[in-house]
Symmetry: C2
Subunit: 515 residues, 2 copies
Amino acid sequence: MNGAESLLETLINNGVEVCFSNPGTSEMHMVAAIGKTQGMRSILSLFEGVCSGAADGYGRMAGKPACTLLHLGPGLSNASANLHNAKKANTPVLNLIGDHAVYHKKYDAPLTSDIISLAQGVSDWVHTTDTAENLPKDAAEAVAIANQGAGKISTLIVPADCAWNDSVDPAPLKPAVPPVTVGVDAVDQAAELLQNGKTTMILLGNMGLSEEALSLADKIGQASGARIFTDTFFTRMPRGEGRCQVERLQYFAEMGVEQIKDIEQLIMVGTKAPVAFFAYPGKPSEFYAPGSELHTLANVDEDAVDALSRLVTAIGAESEKPRYTKLVKAGPGKDGLSPGTIGMTFAEYLPVDAIVVDEGATAGGACYPCSANAEPHDWLTLTGGSIGFGLPTAIGAAVACPDRKVVCNHGDGGAMYTIQSLWTMARENLDICVLIFANRKYQILQIELARVGAQTMNKKTLDMLDISNPDIDFVKLSEGMGVPATRATTIDEFNEQYITAMNTHGPRLIEIVLA
Amino acid sequence: MNGAESLLETLINNGVEVCFSNPGTSEMHMVAAIGKTQGMRSILSLFEGVCSGAADGYGRMAGKPACTLLHLGPGLSNASANLHNAKKANTPVLNLIGDHAVYHKKYDAPLTSDIISLAQGVSDWVHTTDTAENLPKDAAEAVAIANQGAGKISTLIVPADCAWNDSVDPAPLKPAVPPVTVGVDAVDQAAELLQNGKTTMILLGNMGLSEEALSLADKIGQASGARIFTDTFFTRMPRGEGRCQVERLQYFAEMGVEQIKDIEQLIMVGTKAPVAFFAYPGKPSEFYAPGSELHTLANVDEDAVDALSRLVTAIGAESEKPRYTKLVKAGPGKDGLSPGTIGMTFAEYLPVDAIVVDEGATAGGACYPCSANAEPHDWLTLTGGSIGFGLPTAIGAAVACPDRKVVCNHGDGGAMYTIQSLWTMARENLDICVLIFANRKYQILQIELARVGAQTMNKKTLDMLDISNPDIDFVKLSEGMGVPATRATTIDEFNEQYITAMNTHGPRLIEIVLA
């Protein structure tokens, strides 16, 4: 049994069953090993950023890592923007990077580079295997790290000769360290804050955003008067009928500051204190007022549900009844194609248990508030700010949950970063409906240009933020990669196309022309 | 004058006149500064890998750097695969990376990451500016570094507040350190080797591959009997009528070993000793026989033309007449669409002074030998092995040389990595003809799978290296991004379409179906 074969069996022993791959020559023995086994599903992408984004979506929905298979430093680089997003989402991901044979590295061949330096910027853990014998145990360790806490990015560099040389038996399951339970003081202090009469917000993220955590937080909010919030960008939120709602922090700093200006103390659960996405001249970086009391009940890797449950008891909120969202069908959008009317239709026909992957950006922004009372669903957002996350993440979510419809809301500018995703959707016949909000500009940047006080708004400047000239034809792009597509230029066209998509299995794209 | 404005004027003072941009919020003041000035041309791309590849093509042809404008760590990551290629090509490139304001970094906002770590893996020089006042002098230094030796990748990280705060006057031209002249010993030793009666090869690269260097090497070859070679993958080679020819090393290690098995000593000029692209079980990494004598006449950053010129004198080869290539028109391809017939047509109608950007991979490989006696042209290859180089590099070459036709030969698999390039070609109306060699598989990997001794060739394995299912329709992709396109399924169709393309200004794509 060679190293690659023992690696594969080790991964399967440790619960890894999907590989998002874009291999090259130095990964050929791993390709062959995957080909030999039934336990690992291999999904090919045409670009490594699709692999990493798909691993993010898979990890968020499956709660365990998929692996990526990437080709030396450049393959890792191409994957890195979406690894950055996955890292900020605390998604479990295992990267397998093929490298040159150990003895070949000294020659500085064309594909040689400093993989470790590239990997450290987007990983929580990086390790280079040194012999085929060590590969199985390194792989088990890598999976255990990926599963640690809320989830980690674990990167294992595998020199080609460690894959092709004789190895030892596969490693058995190595259990991950379970999330740490918070100390007594953390709960007691939170209880004290909630009972001191000051205005309080509880900010939930990661493990603090599960269905159970939301119910517990809602009880605490009712008993204490605290407002319950989530970050602007969160990893995964259960929403719609039967779930408890939370307020969402605004994106723009001055709006976020205004939104919580009356708050005197913040309790963080699974996340950290809220700050501005970007700095702006003369505006504060912190959302909370100077002098606010900050208390972390549970950090991102601690057991948020346990902590909230104990806090419920500590403040005597056991008897509160969670306020579960009721289903409201408000009717589809009509009278004009706009973000608002699209949002109404989006919510009205969103199927039960849909997964929404949201990179809708400015034009897609109305879908979130419109769907507060829709059928139960999960909502995934762009946690790391690196656009081109939506299409790949939709792939991973669809692979993890083959019986659920995935709806991917995407701005046109962002969609072009990883447009190759459409081909994988077609190849795997994934049940994904992509909505492209085509306003034909980087609208957020035109807004930001004014906000940062950069005064010049002449044609040359605006052209740098404009993606018309030529207009992109997403229907042709989609069909060119095998995904059926239509274009909506009126709300009636959109309604008809969206209803059809929600009632048809398989990939489909709707270009919504808003320009 | 704010930092961004002084930066821009500094760049212009230092000869930088093109910016390949994909900016975000943290670069908005640089966007505004570019908008205000006449001296900097801004070219927008839909993905950062297009920016970096374009900067590579520009630098190879212009002999000076363009700048890229990239958004924090993820923007740099997306650019990194083609920066890797540019680094291996020793192309001068200046990266400008917008970062968070200095005071905002501590908050670990969503887009915060370790940019320095990511940058070091793909740069020769990395620097973070700390104040607006220091930005102009840092920028002048960055350009000087980029222009050093054969060319360097110079990365300047610009925090947003260093761009928006008040700065000082722009910095003047800071001359780059000129290439170093080699010592007397290096020339004398080369002359001794050439006169000791052993079989010798001279291997040329980078500055050793200029038209003048080729002529000098040809004289040395005639006088000494040495064989003149270039690496398999080189930065830029002048070829065709009126240029001296060289042998090109084979790609596969065993073929390379066979090709130079009689060589006893190697003289390197502007490059290093030849090694295998990848390691293979049981095969050597070095092309040259054990015990060969290795001598570097000039390293990559030394003055190769001066060194060759002195070597001509040292061995008394001044009176040799360089054997300039004669134009041969052998007629277009006919009787079947194959790499060979395509290569004949390609060469027959290649315009005078064309620039060929070659990522033709397996199916496009015949174009190079076929065009040895074509009109004079320059040939650019994939120096770093990271596929997805061709389309962006063609953009940069076309921007640097607007009066020359660019022909970009591309494998279908590689083209999908940076397919967004087509949009920029349309937007800028660049004179580029893209030939897609569509064999609908990663053919090189199917060859490599067998070569590395990975035995399993079952359907699951081969599917990981196959990009049919679904077939990609490059005509639709191209039209979807505004580039006129046609499909050739016979040699007659190809001949007609290629002739039309060579006689029409502007971007155009031909999908050649070889599957």
